[in-house]
Symmetry: C2
């Protein structure tokens, strides 16, 4: 007979860890490093702190492939009461809000802890202090996989005499450093490209990198936003209504509910919408039936009178910083870059930034070198499944005077409150039509600038030859 | 300040439903149908029942894109005590065992229920009866997303006078039938190809399909297996030790533990392994330290004296049935098919089956038409990210006398107790080296047979022309 059972989230991802990028000792080491680095960059940038990230890789045992990874940052640290769940509970984090950040799933560091635990039996070590805290907290903990909760093995308090703030995470795992090194180095280089205001160092047995920041100002941190009516469904409406109604004496009205809970909805817009949709603005939201909620959700998605989502919850690099990063890392002869106006899909705002780098130290190749970024995360795998690759492949580069083999690099950066990732391993982006159109528009805009440059270069060369 | 929170699994997949294939009304309708059909085929085949699957699609409202999907099967039904969790709790199911089946995540039908619930507010309706049960159970239920548990709206008992057994699932969702129709039809056709012993019907507003079974015998159902030592890690050892020790008076020995819990480990093998690894076979497993567990796990993975995993937990189609299915659906002039010997990766057994279909009604194309299957599931999306596509692309077909454009179809079927899917949407398979090698070997084996046929055809043609 069939045996029925339930799994905890930790159990599920322990069994299916390859889906999160932890498929083998090479890939798992890469994923471990990137999950920690991405957390450190969020912990600095989102608070306007110039990031200082130190990555250390020690090969403890080459025959057994045992590696120790340590990542240190100068970020906002983690409140000690939150450390156990942050590192020991799958689907726990602070990124479940409407705001651009690298983190979004509440899963990344837990996967790294799980993998280290199952391959070497060792706990994660965390040292952390929040700004102005008098004490530094040091933890060692593991995950109780069956129950999806942390098991604290150690918790020490250390005097924070130097008033340090930040986080150190140490993991010992089965990882193949010689296999992973090349991709890890590339990941760190590209992180330096897309976050040129960050200072990042890597120390490992056979390679040391030191990227000193090229810019001295962190971009304006994004603000937490509200959902846009374009993206509502019945469940979202129900949960927003529940939150908005709780603890109030007088039941709130429908128009108040819309104005207070959604992006792009002012009082006048809300009233015209409700008039169009056939609802009394003063109607108490508690009296909405399930059929009315269904109808309201549908009409909110359909109505074209909403203001488009603002970009205050986004934090693009800007074409100037993007050019700076590209110049610093790729050292091309020519760069054209653009940050497009904000757009949106399904109520989620997004901004596409593109740079084209040509010549100089850009390697010559049969097709464009594609560097993909999402919310300032470098994406190094699954290029064949990514929307940017689809767009680059359908462009006829001859139109822009680029004949392959050629030294051309295409840098695509997508910022959004919801990046349409294809999987929890965050490697490829789905071809959402609005996003695909924006990427193509941005690439063509830069390509026209490149064409002018190459045309000019051609003229100067033919003048010389005369 | 950062706001920390945890999400239930239902909440997580509600927010990230595109990762499970529910990205838009076209794709969601396709995914809903396939999740239900795959459950129905598991519920019949795994019990030696000749499957009768009826799929009905009603477009309730074309302007609002409201569609009702109903899938009925003659399977083993679901025990009434299990229905609420099976449909209302993410990460719950009966497929968390070591045995080939379409289901593996305990997530599929819950995603369909979630999507229907959030787009139309309506519950799932389930009618089910197990073999020889005197009553049929009818449920209507929804998912409490915040708590990841079912909410039963209705539960009726009906007299089972006809002694029916099986399951009917009805969902009302926002789905785009005209957009999804082509892929749904293709999915059902290919299901008929890979399961030629199944009778499948589709009734929809504008298309009706009836695939009567071509074979009258279900393949031998797979048996539940045990883990293979090649795939152990410390956490697996700990949980197996805990289960094996619980409720026993005398602590079991290390050699007993190995023989009773692992695949491919007889008493003699276990003793030689323990001798090689430096452990006393009679040592009580309770006395193993974490360092010893770590060492034991590593050595179990490393030891090359284990018997390779048996295929009793697999259920390939067999080259004869595969040819039959290919003939029935593609109507080619020539078919070559092969079922390879069982292989394994990381302790997981797998079998690759391949067919090449040439000519007849196979469409002429610039590259081979690739039909991919995993555990008898047709995979229709993300071909560019799939290992089979990678293998097909690197083969020089000229060697086998195939010059494109040509009417060639490549059918690849992988059976395993753990298909290396790249995501929970089950569309692409990762390029695990052992699997990739087997696919290439199988394709080349069939290609050699095709070459003999084409060479013969060439001869006959030149004879005719003389
Ligand atoms: N170095 C760090 N500094 C400060 N906070 C951190 C750090 N690392 C983790 N955190 C906190 O722990 C939470 C959980 O991290 P985790 O990587 O598991 O999820 P996430 O970053 O929110 O999302 P994702 O799964 O997409 O990475 C974060 O949201 C953040 O609040
Ligand atoms: N038509 C059916 N007949 C019998 N049992 C069913 C049927 N549909 C679902 N079930 C039961 O419900 C469980 C959960 O189904 P669900 O689709 O959510 O997960 P799964 O099939 O186990 O895995 P996956 O997420 O990969 O599909 C199944 O394991 C099975 O026990
Ligand atoms: Mg993270
Ligand atoms: Mg299923």
């Amino acid at each position: 007979k069939e045996r029925f059972e339930g799994l905890s989230p930790a159990e599920f991802f322990y069994r299916n860890r390859e889906i999160a990028g932890f498929s083998n000792p090479v890939r798992a080491l890469y994923q471990t490093i990137r999950e920690l680095v991405e957390n450190s960059l969020d912990a600095t940038e989102l608070y306007g702190i110039l990031p200082e990230i130190k990555v250390t890789v020690d090969v403890i045992s080459p025959e057994k492939n045992i590696v120790k990874v340590r990542v240190e940052d100068n970020g906002v640290g983690i409140p000690s009461s939150e450390v156990p769940n942050v590192f020991g509970r799958v689907f726990y984090g602070s990124k479940y809000v409407i705001r651009q950040s690298r983190g979004l799933f509440g899963l990344g560091v837990k996967m790294a802890v799980l993998y280290a635990q199952m391959t070497t039996g060792s706990p994660v070590r965390v040292v952390t202090a929040t700004p102005r805290s008098r004490r530094i907290h040091e933890f060692e903990l593991m995950i109780d996989i069956t129950k999806n909760r942390p098991r604290i093995l150690k918790h020490n308090l250390i005097d924070n005499s130097k008033r340090w703030h930040g986080t150190i995470v140490e993991l010992t795992l089965e990882g193949n450093w010689s296999g992973a090194r090349r991709k890890v180095v590339e990941y760190i280089k590209r992180t330096a490209l897309i976050a040129p205001y960050a200072t990042i160092t890597l120390k490992s047995p056979d390679v040391e990198l030191h990227f000193k920041r090229l810019a001295y100002k962190v971009p304006e941190p994004p603000e937490i936003g509200r959902p846009h009516p374009r993206g509502v469904d019945i469940e979202l409406l129900k949960s927003l209504i529940a939150k908005y109604s709780s603890g109030r004496e007088d039941p709130p009205t429908l128009v108040d509910f819309l104005v207070e809970n959604f992006e792009g909805v002012g009082r006048i817009t809300a009233e015209s919408f409700l008039k169009w949709a056939g609802y009394d603005p003063e109607m108490p939201i508690g009296s909405l039936t399930i059929e009315a909620l269904d109808d309201l959700a549908r009409k909110m998605r359909e109505y074209d009178g909403w203001r488009r989502p603002r970009a205050h919850s986004l934090s693009p690099l800007g074409s100037e910083l993007l050019s700076k990063g590209v110049q610093g890392i790729l050292r091309p002869e020519f760069v054209a870059s653009i940050t497009r106006k904000p757009s949106s899909y399904g109520g989620h705002p997004f901004v596409v930034e593109v740079a084209l780098a040509w010549g100089g130290e850009v390697p010559v190749s049969d097709h464009p070198l594609l560097l993909r970024f999402a919310n300032k995360i470098p994406l190094l795998y699954d290029e064949g499944a990514d929307v940017s690759r689809k767009v680059v492949d359908k462009i006829d580069w001859n139109t822009y005077k680029v004949k392959f083999p050629a030294p051309l690099a295409v840098i695509v950066h997508i910022c959004s409150t919801k990046i349409p990732f294809k999987g929890v391993g965050k490697e490829a982006i789905a071809d959402v039509p609005e996003v695909e159109r924006e990427i193509e528009g941005a690439i063509r805009e830069c390509a026209r600038k490149l064409r002018r440059y190459l045309t000019q270069k051609e003229k100067e060369l033919s003048l010389k030859l005369k």
